[in-house]
């Protein structure tokens, strides 16, 4: 016996999936939850493997542990590095998605990082240039935007707890708008130098619906010692 409310929900979800707007990802979005703090500590973030742990190679786990101990001073985010992928998605700050015929553009409020994600089939940069935000190419699988991101710099962390990757990182992201104001985000991370096998995180994104909501400028400035620091209103 299925309750009427559930029927309504199923019908609504089915209708949403049929609507052309399901491929419209435009809007200002923000991750729910606290995955940005520690991917392993937040329940339900790592959905594969089933134990919820990052499948580090043995020596890489030791590096992650050392990073964790030193995180108050060595997290690249603290000195305003661009956040990388998928960390940019999970931060407690909004980002805005724009869509053009041949590209999806994501502007993150956090240090005004942006990604231009071509969806016209053109190949990745293959000349060895590395980027903090990677090189991203997208395509549609049904109503899911699938983004393939490579060419990462090796310095970035994956969260504030010292989880990390090398320049062999390859991220496959999946953006699925499952209702007008929510989007499911998944990212599968491969990095043979650091991980034994690919692993996957999941997060729920919520759309900002406040009237006239907009991104504001998040720009770092130097402190008295000359180090770049975030303005206090953005510290979480």
């Amino acid at each position: 016996m299925i309750r009427p409310a559930l029927v309504l929900l199923l019908v609504t979800a089915a209708a949403w999936a049929q609507a052309p707007s399901a491929r419209d990802l435009r809007g200002i979005w923000q991750a729910k939850g606290n995955a940005y703090r520690n991917l392993e500590a937040e329940k339900g973030v790592i959905v594969d493997p089933a134990n919820g742990k990052i499948p580090y190679r043995a020596e890489a786990r030791s590096t992650a542990d050392r990073n964790f101990q030193a995180r108050a001073t060595t997290d690249p985010l603290l000195v305003c590095f661009q956040p990388g992928v998928p960390r940019a998605t999970l931060l407690p700050e909004p980002f805005q998605i724009f869509q053009q015929q041949d590209r999806v553009v994501i502007v993150y409020q956090h240090v005004h990082s942006y990604r231009v994600i071509f969806t016209d089939g053109r190949p990745h940069y293959d000349d060895g240039i590395e980027f903090y935000m990677g090189d991203s190419r997208g395509h549609w699988e049904g109503n899911t935007l699938v983004v393939d991101a490579t060419n990462f710099k090796p310095e970035n962390w994956l969260d504030a707890a010292g989880h990390f990757h090398s320049n062999k990182l390859h991220v496959i992201e999946r953006y699925t708008r499952d209702a007008p104001n929510t989007m499911r985000y998944e990212a599968t991370l491969e990095d043979p130098e650091v991980f034994q096998r690919p692993w996957t995180i999941r997060a729920e994104l919520a759309r900002h619906t406040e009237p006239n909501f907009q991104l504001i400028e998040h720009e770092c400035d130097r402190d008295a010692q000359g180090a770049y620091r975030h303005p206090p209103q953005f510290l979480k």
Binding site: F98, Y114, F131, Y132, Q214, L215, E217, A227
Partner: protein, 256 residues
Amino acid sequence: MKHVASLVIAAVCASAQSAFTPPRLPDGHPDFGGIWMAATLSAAFNVEEHAASYGTPAGPSVIIDPPGGKLPYLPGMRERALDNDQHRERDPVGQCHMHGVPRVMFPPFPLEIFEDGENVVILTETEHGVRIIPTDGRPLLKNYSSWNGDSRGRWEGDTLVVEVRGLNGKGWLDQAGNFVGAGATVVERFRLTAKDTLEYEATVSNPAVFSRSFTVRVPLRRRPADVELLEYGCIEGERDAAHLPSTNAPANGERK
């Protein structure tokens, strides 16, 4: 008969002026979409007329008002600009900040423009700068202070007019130390004058620094279709001691 003749002349003049019909988006507005770069890099070096010097090619003024092409500094302000010129390590862009308006529109780097019916978006390669310009009539932010300001756009025919407020008053106008101060406001005008030419004008009002408003005009030229913006890291790689407030300060971005 005379009247008819002058009407004809007027019509011919008008049609010569508007001979170029811009490509349009489904909403009817001109399509500014593409990768652009200032047609002349002269403005990035110095918005005023300047002779060649080490690292700086000579160039004409891009100031179309006031006549004469000089910035209408208040007494004492040109001295500050000349002092900046002697201390280019103060240049906010050298310190990894975004350029501010109007300098953000004519750096020696490409920028991308696109429209989605609700916003005109400008992404600059340098400093991974961003301007999101709503064109939906929403009000400007109150009590806002930032490098690139808060912008609102509206269409006057085929010209995009952008009002900019909320500038932090710390931006320079060029590499030569010309500057704007607190309370500056800017009105920008964007207009396609040919398929690959986007004319950009900015009128700056800043009574704390200038005796009157002034206007710069810089044409932007479309870059080839295969040009993409690439990532520009600045803070991440900042290790230049000359940019540090104290030589004893640790190099920024270096991981300990």
